[in-house]
Protein backbone atom coordinates (compact mmCIF):
# COMPACT_ATOMS: atom_id res chain seq x y z
CA UNK A 1 0.00 0.00 0.00
CA UNK A 2 1.50 3.35 -1.04
CA UNK A 3 2.10 5.91 1.64
CA UNK A 4 0.96 9.51 1.60
CA UNK A 5 4.32 10.63 0.33
CA UNK A 6 4.07 8.41 -2.75
CA UNK A 7 0.68 9.78 -3.57
CA UNK A 8 1.89 13.34 -3.19
CA UNK A 9 4.72 12.62 -5.56
CA UNK A 10 2.33 11.13 -8.10
CA UNK A 11 0.03 14.11 -7.91
CA UNK A 12 2.95 16.39 -8.64
CA UNK A 13 4.02 14.30 -11.63
CA UNK A 14 0.54 14.21 -13.11
CA UNK A 15 0.21 17.97 -12.64
CA UNK A 16 3.39 18.52 -14.62
CA UNK A 17 2.13 16.31 -17.42
CA UNK A 18 -1.18 18.16 -17.48
CA UNK A 19 0.67 21.43 -17.82
CA UNK A 20 2.64 20.18 -20.79
CA UNK A 21 -0.36 18.72 -22.60
CA UNK A 22 -2.29 21.91 -21.95
CA UNK A 23 0.51 23.95 -23.54
CA UNK A 24 0.65 21.60 -26.52
CA UNK A 25 -3.08 21.93 -26.94
CA UNK A 26 -2.81 25.71 -27.08
CA UNK A 27 0.01 25.59 -29.60
CA UNK A 28 -1.86 23.10 -31.77
CA UNK A 29 -5.03 25.16 -31.79
CA UNK A 30 -3.12 28.28 -32.83
CA UNK A 31 -1.39 26.33 -35.59
CA UNK A 32 -4.65 24.80 -36.68
CA UNK A 33 -6.16 28.21 -37.22
CA UNK A 34 -3.16 29.21 -39.27
CA UNK A 35 -3.35 26.06 -41.37
CA UNK A 36 -7.03 26.62 -42.04
CA UNK A 37 -6.36 30.20 -43.08
CA UNK A 38 -3.64 29.00 -45.43
CA UNK A 39 -6.08 26.60 -47.05
CA UNK A 40 -8.52 29.47 -47.52
CA UNK A 41 -5.84 31.73 -48.97
CA UNK A 42 -5.33 29.28 -51.81
CA UNK A 43 -8.93 29.55 -52.92
CA UNK A 44 -8.71 32.51 -55.32
CA UNK A 45 -5.89 30.69 -57.05
CA UNK A 46 -7.95 27.53 -57.27
CA UNK A 47 -10.89 29.46 -58.65
CA UNK A 48 -8.89 31.17 -61.35
CA UNK A 49 -7.23 27.94 -62.30
CA UNK A 50 -10.55 26.14 -62.48
CA UNK A 51 -11.88 28.80 -64.80
CA UNK A 52 -8.85 28.67 -67.05
CA UNK A 53 -9.05 24.90 -67.25
CA UNK A 54 -12.71 25.05 -68.18
CA UNK A 55 -11.96 27.52 -70.95
CA UNK A 56 -9.04 25.51 -72.23
CA UNK A 57 -10.91 22.25 -72.22
CA UNK A 58 -13.71 23.76 -74.23
CA UNK A 59 -11.24 25.12 -76.74
CA UNK A 60 -8.91 22.17 -77.24
CA UNK A 61 -9.36 19.71 -79.99
CA UNK A 62 -10.97 16.47 -78.87
CA UNK A 63 -8.06 14.19 -79.68
CA UNK A 64 -5.69 16.16 -77.53
CA UNK A 65 -3.49 14.09 -75.29
CA UNK A 66 -0.59 14.94 -73.12
CA UNK A 67 2.14 12.59 -71.83
CA UNK A 68 0.86 13.25 -68.31
CA UNK A 69 -2.57 11.94 -69.30
CA UNK A 70 -1.27 8.79 -70.93
CA UNK A 71 -2.79 5.59 -69.58
CA UNK A 72 -0.34 2.70 -69.50
CA UNK A 73 -0.87 -0.90 -68.58
CA UNK A 74 2.52 -1.47 -66.99
CA UNK A 75 1.09 -2.00 -63.54
CA UNK A 76 4.05 -0.49 -61.71
CA UNK A 77 2.56 1.64 -59.02
CA UNK A 78 3.84 4.29 -56.74
CA UNK A 79 2.24 5.33 -53.48
CA UNK A 80 2.95 8.62 -51.78
CA UNK A 81 2.13 8.62 -48.09
CA UNK A 82 1.71 12.04 -46.55
CA UNK A 83 2.02 11.87 -42.78
CA UNK A 84 3.10 14.05 -39.90
CA UNK A 85 6.63 14.57 -38.66
CA UNK A 86 5.82 14.21 -34.99
CA UNK A 87 3.61 11.93 -32.99
CA UNK A 88 1.23 12.81 -30.16
CA UNK A 89 -1.63 13.42 -32.50
CA UNK A 90 -4.00 10.61 -31.59
CA UNK A 91 -4.81 7.86 -34.06
CA UNK A 92 -4.09 10.03 -37.11
CA UNK A 93 -1.04 8.21 -38.43
CA UNK A 94 -2.21 4.77 -37.33
CA UNK A 95 -5.39 4.98 -39.36
CA UNK A 96 -3.44 6.38 -42.27
CA UNK A 97 -0.98 3.49 -42.25
CA UNK A 98 -3.68 0.90 -41.81
CA UNK A 99 -5.20 2.27 -45.00
CA UNK A 100 -1.79 2.16 -46.67
CA UNK A 101 -1.45 -1.55 -45.99
CA UNK A 102 -4.57 -2.19 -48.04
CA UNK A 103 -2.78 -0.91 -51.10
CA UNK A 104 -0.83 -4.10 -51.49
CA UNK A 105 2.87 -4.26 -51.95
CA UNK A 106 3.27 -6.08 -55.25
CA UNK A 107 4.97 -4.04 -57.90
CA UNK A 108 4.77 -0.95 -55.76
CA UNK A 109 7.31 1.59 -54.68
CA UNK A 110 6.74 4.03 -51.86
CA UNK A 111 7.46 7.68 -51.33
CA UNK A 112 7.25 9.32 -47.96
CA UNK A 113 6.33 12.88 -47.12
CA UNK A 114 6.81 13.47 -43.43
CA UNK A 115 9.03 11.59 -41.03
CA UNK A 116 6.40 9.21 -39.63
CA UNK A 117 5.64 7.86 -43.09
CA UNK A 118 9.33 7.24 -43.73
CA UNK A 119 9.61 5.34 -40.44
CA UNK A 120 6.54 3.30 -41.26
CA UNK A 121 7.80 2.35 -44.70
CA UNK A 122 11.18 1.24 -43.44
CA UNK A 123 9.60 -0.62 -40.54
CA UNK A 124 7.39 -2.58 -42.91
CA UNK A 125 10.43 -3.19 -45.15
CA UNK A 126 8.75 -1.65 -48.15
CA UNK A 127 10.80 -0.18 -50.99
CA UNK A 128 11.29 3.52 -50.27
CA UNK A 129 12.26 5.62 -53.29
CA UNK A 130 12.31 9.09 -51.88
CA UNK A 131 11.60 10.96 -48.72
CA UNK A 132 10.35 14.51 -48.65
CA UNK A 133 9.84 16.88 -45.78
CA UNK A 134 7.51 19.78 -45.49
CA UNK A 135 7.40 22.56 -42.98
CA UNK A 136 4.76 23.34 -40.42
CA UNK A 137 3.31 25.90 -42.78
CA UNK A 138 3.67 24.14 -46.14
CA UNK A 139 5.30 26.18 -48.86
CA UNK A 140 4.31 25.94 -52.49
CA UNK A 141 7.95 25.19 -53.32
CA UNK A 142 7.86 22.07 -51.18
CA UNK A 143 4.75 20.82 -52.91
CA UNK A 144 6.31 21.57 -56.26
CA UNK A 145 9.40 19.55 -55.42
CA UNK A 146 7.29 16.48 -54.64
CA UNK A 147 5.03 16.95 -57.63
CA UNK A 148 7.96 17.47 -60.02
CA UNK A 149 9.63 14.34 -58.76
CA UNK A 150 6.47 12.32 -59.34
CA UNK A 151 5.97 13.72 -62.80
CA UNK A 152 9.56 12.95 -63.74
CA UNK A 153 9.23 9.39 -62.50
CA UNK A 154 6.03 8.99 -64.45
CA UNK A 155 7.32 10.53 -67.65
CA UNK A 156 10.52 8.52 -67.49
CA UNK A 157 8.40 5.36 -67.39
CA UNK A 158 9.63 4.32 -63.96
CA UNK A 159 6.07 4.03 -62.74
CA UNK A 160 2.75 3.78 -64.53
CA UNK A 161 0.47 5.03 -61.84
CA UNK A 162 0.86 7.34 -58.89
CA UNK A 163 -1.51 7.52 -55.97
CA UNK A 164 -1.40 9.77 -52.96
CA UNK A 165 -2.64 8.82 -49.53
CA UNK A 166 -3.23 11.68 -47.15
CA UNK A 167 -5.47 12.75 -44.31
CA UNK A 168 -8.30 14.92 -45.45
CA UNK A 169 -9.42 17.62 -43.09
CA UNK A 170 -13.17 17.44 -42.63
CA UNK A 171 -13.61 19.22 -39.35
CA UNK A 172 -11.74 19.75 -36.13
CA UNK A 173 -13.11 16.48 -34.82
CA UNK A 174 -12.98 14.43 -37.99
CA UNK A 175 -10.11 13.64 -40.30
CA UNK A 176 -10.23 10.84 -42.81
CA UNK A 177 -7.48 9.10 -44.76
CA UNK A 178 -8.18 9.59 -48.43
CA UNK A 179 -6.85 8.42 -51.76
CA UNK A 180 -6.01 10.68 -54.61
CA UNK A 181 -5.23 9.30 -58.05
CA UNK A 182 -2.44 11.66 -58.98
CA UNK A 183 -1.13 10.34 -62.26
CA UNK A 184 -2.06 9.79 -65.02
CA UNK A 185 -4.51 12.65 -65.07
CA UNK A 186 -7.69 10.77 -65.79
CA UNK A 187 -10.16 13.55 -65.86
CA UNK A 188 -9.68 17.25 -65.62
CA UNK A 189 -12.42 18.68 -63.57
CA UNK A 190 -11.18 21.11 -61.02
CA UNK A 191 -8.14 21.68 -58.87
CA UNK A 192 -9.88 20.99 -55.63
CA UNK A 193 -13.19 19.87 -54.30
CA UNK A 194 -14.57 23.33 -54.93
CA UNK A 195 -16.15 23.67 -58.29
CA UNK A 196 -16.68 27.38 -58.14
CA UNK A 197 -15.07 29.25 -61.00
CA UNK A 198 -15.59 26.40 -63.38
CA UNK A 199 -19.15 27.33 -64.25
CA UNK A 200 -18.07 30.92 -64.62
CA UNK A 201 -15.50 29.88 -67.18
CA UNK A 202 -18.06 28.05 -69.25
CA UNK A 203 -20.42 30.97 -69.02
CA UNK A 204 -17.67 33.34 -70.00
CA UNK A 205 -16.92 31.30 -73.07
CA UNK A 206 -20.52 31.11 -74.05
CA UNK A 207 -21.01 34.84 -73.81
CA UNK A 208 -17.57 36.25 -74.55
CA UNK A 209 -17.02 34.23 -77.68
CA UNK A 210 -13.73 32.79 -78.78
CA UNK A 211 -10.60 33.02 -76.75
CA UNK A 212 -7.29 33.54 -78.41
CA UNK A 213 -4.47 31.38 -77.18
CA UNK A 214 -0.84 32.20 -77.38
CA UNK A 215 0.93 30.16 -78.67
CA UNK A 216 -1.96 27.63 -78.89
CA UNK A 217 -4.62 26.07 -76.70
CA UNK A 218 -2.72 22.78 -76.64
CA UNK A 219 0.50 24.40 -75.58
CA UNK A 220 -1.07 26.50 -72.87
CA UNK A 221 -2.90 23.46 -71.59
CA UNK A 222 0.30 21.45 -71.72
CA UNK A 223 1.98 24.06 -69.58
CA UNK A 224 -0.96 24.33 -67.24
CA UNK A 225 -1.10 20.61 -66.44
CA UNK A 226 2.12 20.46 -64.40
CA UNK A 227 0.94 23.51 -62.50
CA UNK A 228 -2.36 21.85 -61.90
CA UNK A 229 -0.55 18.90 -60.35
CA UNK A 230 1.73 21.10 -58.28
CA UNK A 231 -1.23 22.90 -56.90
CA UNK A 232 -3.07 19.71 -56.07
CA UNK A 233 -0.05 18.51 -54.16
CA UNK A 234 0.08 21.81 -52.35
CA UNK A 235 -3.51 21.38 -51.29
CA UNK A 236 -2.79 17.87 -50.10
CA UNK A 237 -0.03 19.20 -47.87
CA UNK A 238 -2.29 21.92 -46.50
CA UNK A 239 -5.04 19.41 -45.74
CA UNK A 240 -2.60 17.10 -44.00
CA UNK A 241 -1.27 19.90 -41.85
CA UNK A 242 -4.71 21.11 -40.90
CA UNK A 243 -5.62 17.52 -39.97
CA UNK A 244 -2.46 17.07 -37.95
CA UNK A 245 -2.93 20.16 -35.88
CA UNK A 246 -6.59 19.56 -35.16
CA UNK A 247 -5.96 15.90 -34.31
CA UNK A 248 -3.18 16.93 -31.96
CA UNK A 249 -5.36 19.55 -30.36
CA UNK A 250 -8.09 17.03 -29.65
CA UNK A 251 -5.64 14.39 -28.41
CA UNK A 252 -3.98 16.87 -26.10
CA UNK A 253 -7.30 18.11 -24.80
CA UNK A 254 -8.25 14.56 -23.89
CA UNK A 255 -4.88 14.05 -22.22
CA UNK A 256 -5.33 17.21 -20.17
CA UNK A 257 -8.82 16.19 -19.12
CA UNK A 258 -7.63 12.74 -18.12
CA UNK A 259 -4.77 14.17 -16.13
CA UNK A 260 -7.10 16.52 -14.28
CA UNK A 261 -9.44 13.67 -13.47
CA UNK A 262 -6.53 11.63 -12.20
CA UNK A 263 -5.39 14.50 -10.00
CA UNK A 264 -8.85 14.73 -8.52
CA UNK A 265 -8.96 10.99 -7.77
CA UNK A 266 -5.49 11.01 -6.29
CA UNK A 267 -6.22 14.01 -4.11
CA UNK A 268 -9.30 12.27 -2.73
CA UNK A 269 -7.25 9.17 -2.01
CA UNK A 270 -4.57 11.28 -0.35
CA UNK A 271 -7.03 13.07 1.90
CA UNK A 272 -8.67 9.82 2.93
CA UNK A 273 -5.34 8.37 3.85
CA UNK A 274 -4.33 11.46 5.78
CA UNK A 275 -7.56 11.38 7.71
CA UNK A 276 -7.14 7.70 8.46
CA UNK A 277 -3.68 8.24 9.87
CA UNK A 278 -4.84 11.13 12.05
CA UNK A 279 -7.72 9.07 13.39
CA UNK A 280 -5.36 6.24 14.07
CA UNK A 281 -3.00 8.49 15.98
CA UNK A 282 -5.83 9.93 18.08
CA UNK A 283 -7.01 6.44 18.89
CA UNK A 284 -3.51 5.47 19.95
CA UNK A 285 -3.25 8.48 22.25
CA UNK A 286 -6.64 7.79 23.75
CA UNK A 287 -5.81 4.13 24.30
CA UNK A 288 -2.50 5.01 25.91
CA UNK A 289 -4.19 7.46 28.27
CA UNK A 290 -6.81 4.93 29.24
CA UNK A 291 -4.15 2.34 29.96
CA UNK A 292 -2.31 4.79 32.17
CA UNK A 293 -5.42 5.95 33.97
Amino acid sequence: MPGTRDIRRRIRAVKNTAQITKAMQMVASAKMRKAQLAALAGRPYAQTMNRMLAELLAARSTDFTHPLMERRNGGRRCLVIVSTDKGLCGPLNTTLFREALKYGRENTVFIAAGRKAAQFISRMRLPLVAEFTYKDSPQFEEARAISRFLQDQFLAGEVDQVDVLFTNFISTLAQRPEWLAFLPIAELRSVSAEHEGEAMGEELRASGGEFLFEPSAEQVLGALLPHYLNFRMYQVLLESKASEHSARMVAMKNATDNANQLIKDLTLEYNKMRQASITKELLEIATAQMALG
Binding site: A38, A41, G42, P44, Y45, T48, M49, R51, M52, E55, L56, F140, E141, R144, A145, R148, F149, D152, L204, G208, G209, E210, F211, L212, F213, E214, P215, Q219, V220, A223, L224, H227, F231, Y234
Partner: protein, 137 residues
Amino acid sequence: MAHTLKLEIVTPDSKVFSGDVEMVTLPGIEGEMGIYPQHVPLMTQLVPGEVVARQAGRDLFLAVGEGFVEITGDHVNIITDMAIEAENIDEAKAEEARRRAEARLAQQISDEEAAAVRAMLARATVQVQVKRRRAGK
Protein backbone atom coordinates in the same frame (compact mmCIF):
# COMPACT_ATOMS: atom_id res chain seq x y z
CA MET B 1 -17.82 51.32 -72.20
CA ALA B 2 -15.39 50.47 -69.53
CA HIS B 3 -12.27 52.53 -69.22
CA THR B 4 -10.59 50.37 -66.70
CA LEU B 5 -9.49 46.79 -66.37
CA LYS B 6 -9.90 44.74 -63.26
CA LEU B 7 -6.50 43.29 -62.56
CA GLU B 8 -6.12 40.35 -60.21
CA ILE B 9 -2.85 38.73 -59.38
CA VAL B 10 -3.04 35.59 -57.27
CA THR B 11 -0.38 33.23 -55.97
CA PRO B 12 -1.01 29.95 -54.15
CA ASP B 13 -0.54 31.71 -50.81
CA SER B 14 -2.49 34.90 -51.31
CA LYS B 15 -4.14 37.44 -53.52
CA VAL B 16 -1.33 39.88 -54.18
CA PHE B 17 -3.16 42.53 -56.11
CA SER B 18 -6.73 43.29 -56.91
CA GLY B 19 -7.92 46.57 -58.30
CA ASP B 20 -8.96 48.65 -61.29
CA VAL B 21 -6.16 49.73 -63.57
CA GLU B 22 -5.98 51.63 -66.84
CA MET B 23 -3.32 49.51 -68.46
CA VAL B 24 -1.23 46.45 -67.79
CA THR B 25 2.09 45.47 -69.29
CA LEU B 26 3.14 41.90 -68.73
CA PRO B 27 5.79 39.46 -69.89
CA GLY B 28 4.03 36.87 -72.07
CA ILE B 29 5.74 33.82 -73.48
CA GLU B 30 5.78 35.40 -76.93
CA GLY B 31 7.02 38.76 -75.75
CA GLU B 32 6.01 41.77 -73.74
CA MET B 33 2.33 42.66 -74.04
CA GLY B 34 0.50 45.85 -73.25
CA ILE B 35 -3.15 45.41 -72.43
CA TYR B 36 -5.81 48.09 -72.54
CA PRO B 37 -9.49 47.75 -71.78
CA GLN B 38 -11.51 45.98 -74.49
CA HIS B 39 -8.66 43.68 -75.34
CA VAL B 40 -9.73 40.53 -77.20
CA PRO B 41 -10.16 37.50 -74.92
CA LEU B 42 -6.75 35.92 -74.69
CA MET B 43 -4.96 33.33 -72.66
CA THR B 44 -1.24 32.87 -72.54
CA GLN B 45 1.67 31.84 -70.40
CA LEU B 46 3.57 34.22 -68.22
CA VAL B 47 7.36 34.14 -67.99
CA PRO B 48 9.41 35.56 -65.12
CA GLY B 49 9.59 39.31 -65.54
CA GLU B 50 8.00 42.56 -64.67
CA VAL B 51 4.33 43.47 -64.59
CA VAL B 52 3.49 47.15 -64.81
CA ALA B 53 0.02 48.25 -63.79
CA ARG B 54 -1.07 51.85 -64.34
CA GLN B 55 -3.47 52.83 -61.65
CA ALA B 56 -4.84 56.40 -61.64
CA GLY B 57 -1.88 57.65 -63.62
CA ARG B 58 0.63 56.03 -61.31
CA ASP B 59 2.67 53.04 -62.34
CA LEU B 60 2.91 50.06 -60.08
CA PHE B 61 5.67 47.52 -60.61
CA LEU B 62 5.64 43.89 -59.65
CA ALA B 63 8.15 41.12 -60.14
CA VAL B 64 6.40 37.91 -61.17
CA GLY B 65 7.41 34.30 -61.69
CA GLU B 66 6.08 31.70 -64.10
CA GLY B 67 2.38 31.53 -64.52
CA PHE B 68 -0.66 32.11 -66.68
CA VAL B 69 -2.67 35.08 -67.81
CA GLU B 70 -6.29 35.22 -68.75
CA ILE B 71 -7.61 38.33 -70.41
CA THR B 72 -11.23 39.13 -71.08
CA GLY B 73 -12.65 42.49 -72.15
CA ASP B 74 -12.52 44.02 -68.72
CA HIS B 75 -10.58 41.54 -66.62
CA VAL B 76 -6.97 40.48 -66.41
CA ASN B 77 -6.32 37.50 -64.18
CA ILE B 78 -2.79 36.42 -63.47
CA ILE B 79 -1.90 33.26 -61.59
CA THR B 80 1.75 32.86 -60.81
CA ASP B 81 4.24 31.26 -58.44
CA MET B 82 5.47 34.56 -57.15
CA ALA B 83 4.44 38.18 -57.25
CA ILE B 84 6.15 40.87 -55.26
CA GLU B 85 5.71 44.61 -55.47
CA ALA B 86 8.86 46.49 -56.29
CA GLU B 87 8.81 48.34 -52.98
CA ASN B 88 8.67 45.11 -51.04
CA ILE B 89 11.63 43.51 -52.73
CA ASP B 90 14.60 43.07 -50.51
CA GLU B 91 17.40 43.56 -52.99
CA ALA B 92 20.16 42.27 -50.77
CA LYS B 93 18.21 39.12 -50.05
CA ALA B 94 17.30 38.55 -53.69
CA GLU B 95 20.88 39.14 -54.76
CA GLU B 96 22.06 36.73 -52.13
CA ALA B 97 19.54 34.12 -53.32
CA ARG B 98 20.71 34.66 -56.87
CA ARG B 99 24.34 34.15 -55.97
CA ARG B 100 23.51 31.04 -54.00
CA ALA B 101 21.49 29.61 -56.88
CA GLU B 102 24.31 30.33 -59.31
CA ALA B 103 26.84 28.68 -57.05
CA ARG B 104 24.60 25.65 -56.71
CA LEU B 105 24.19 25.38 -60.47
CA ALA B 106 27.93 25.33 -60.90
CA GLN B 107 28.13 22.17 -58.81
CA GLN B 108 27.13 18.71 -59.87
CA ILE B 109 23.46 18.36 -59.13
CA SER B 110 20.64 16.20 -60.37
CA ASP B 111 18.40 17.38 -63.17
CA GLU B 112 15.35 17.96 -61.06
CA GLU B 113 17.30 19.98 -58.56
CA ALA B 114 18.88 21.96 -61.36
CA ALA B 115 15.44 22.79 -62.69
CA ALA B 116 14.27 23.95 -59.28
CA VAL B 117 17.41 25.99 -58.76
CA ARG B 118 17.09 27.51 -62.22
CA ALA B 119 13.53 28.57 -61.47
CA MET B 120 14.73 30.07 -58.21
CA LEU B 121 17.51 31.84 -60.06
CA ALA B 122 15.05 33.28 -62.56
CA ARG B 123 12.82 34.55 -59.79
CA ALA B 124 15.67 36.11 -57.85
CA THR B 125 17.13 37.69 -60.98
CA VAL B 126 13.81 39.24 -61.89
CA GLN B 127 13.46 40.69 -58.42
CA VAL B 128 16.90 42.25 -58.59
CA GLN B 129 16.25 43.62 -62.07
CA VAL B 130 12.92 45.17 -61.19
CA LYS B 131 14.33 46.72 -58.06
CA ARG B 132 17.39 48.14 -59.82
CA ARG B 133 15.40 49.61 -62.65
CA ARG B 134 13.04 51.32 -60.27
CA ALA B 135 15.83 52.55 -58.05
CA GLY B 136 17.67 53.98 -61.04
CA LYS B 137 14.80 56.21 -62.05
